[in-house]
Symmetry: C2
Subunit: 286 residues, 2 copies
């Protein structure tokens, strides 16, 4: 088997390989998905990149990038790309000209949501945790604006600065204080697609969100979603995204860590936002 | 002018009259609606019971009961009844056989949601704050089960007792700790219709809701709504509800307080749950 790599999620290390062979030998698995999929056992045989809800649920994570190369239909389930696609087009119910805010925007999903939203005709602002990531959002992914949330003492003021007339759509990846600030800045009939709350996963007690009264006064719809519920839309996603990638209208960044020994720190790094884009651990580049 | 009464909401005293005259002299107004309607000025002339978003937004509050008597189309906007109707049928997306939990269930809206849900074929449980109200829910309104939340030390356990397989639909009237407990007990793809959060309105700092991670893992849709957005459905509501009331399949309870001097305490009483059903202040019973 050649070209092995692990793709890291907040809840698992995803196992996959670069050259798209179908039968993988799973060397180890770490963690399991909160939706209750079956974690892989060490040493079990598996077919790569199945959806979360499948029998071998811990295998997932192929990025949009891989679609281009794949000749095997089993490898067409690009998890972050498809998550961005269904989250934006299906859950957010976007309209041209609306404003969208994306947290953890340089992450595997966020960077694609922002690009989809720009192509759709939205005003797009993202937050991330470093100057490097903010530059990436503005210069590589074409966001209208981006800011470093770690440099903002008052998230509410930061959002008011970038959204003087409020936010129509929030693509939620982090939860906690950011969600509280966003709620104050949502517009009437806003939509919040809840994709992740990575700031909360490792807390012993989650932060309390205090501004839920805004859900009533602003008639907000807040909806949690998991990509595995939307695999029937996969052909539509591929049909839309492939030409965009070929034309260079959609781009992506992955974060490659080298060597199996780097896997644990790569996984831990996700929670402090060390990665830029999809975290991949390259075990054997050949 | 004969038969004056004020209808109390959490955010306003609604002015209306029993005999459905159209031209009212507004004696005073108290509070204004959080959605930003125009509060009535003391001494202004008004047409009764307009929707919240109208020019005279502070006038609202006619209950289902009044529809039967009214010959004036201006008085057909039964706010609690219509709120229950759109909240249940439109926002909750109910399916036959699903389980529904209603907080503040003996209130003006809750009592009707429960009856609609029973007629629709749901398993219906409500919470209220006294033995009297719990009896009302079970014996007058036909709820499957009801409990006194003030007697429960652990709301999570209480909900597990009544919903061993979880809650499909939560009709949210109170917020705070109850919402937190409900989130833990929601089923996959559950829906939360957020109609009110009365436990939070008078707090200096709202309670933090900690279990929002469930929104992702259970793919919950949470949606705030305001009845004034749904007045186009009013004819459908009347068409459905009138025969049900005439056949005795839908019933209601109002809480009458006597005399203008009782208005302030009736309004304050809403926040401690003193009222049973729609709070009405009868100023002049003739």
């Amino acid at each position: 088997m050649k070209g092995q790599a692990f793709h890291c999620n907040h809840s698992q290390l995803d196992f996959t390989i670069f050259d798209h062979l179908v039968n993988l030998k799973v060397l180890f698995s770490l963690g399991h998905h909160p939706s209750g999929s079956v974690p892989l056992k060490i040493g079990s045989e598996a077919v790569g990149n199945l959806p979360h809800h499948g029998k071998l649920g811990a295998i997932a994570g192929y990025g949009v990038a891989r679609i281009l190369d794949s000749s095997n239909p089993n490898f067409k389930k690009g998890m972050p790309g498809h998550t961005a696609y269904v989250g934006f087009y299906e859950v957010c119910s976007p309209k041209k000209g609306e404003t969208i805010f994306i947290s953890a925007a340089s992450g595997a999903v966020g960077q694609l949501v922002g690009q989809f939203a720009k192509l759709f005709g939205c005003y797009v602002v993202g937050s991330a945790g470093s100057k490097e990531k903010v530059d990436l959002l503005k210069n590589k992914f074409g966001f209208d604006e981006a800011f470093n949330y770690k440099e903002e003492h008052d998230l509410n003021s930061a959002l008011k600065r970038y959204f003087p007339s409020g936010i129509d759509i929030y693509f939620e990846n982090v939860g906690g204080k950011m969600l509280d600030a966003v709620l104050l800045n949502m517009r009437l009939r806003g939509r919040i697609a809840v994709c992740g709350m990575i700031s909360q996963y490792n807390l012993e007690e989650p932060e309390g969100v205090q501004n839920l009264l805004c859900v009533i006064s602003k008639q907000i719809r807040m909806e949690g979603f998991i990509v595995s519920d939307y695999y029937h839309l996969y052909p539509k996603f591929v049909e839309m995204v492939l030409p965009l990638i070929k034309e260079g209208k959609i781009t992506y960044v992955e974060d490659l860590a080298n060597g199996l020994e780097s896997a644990p720190s790569a996984l831990i790094g996700l929670f402090s936002g060390r990665n830029v884009g999809k975290q991949v651990v390259v075990v054997d580049p050949e």
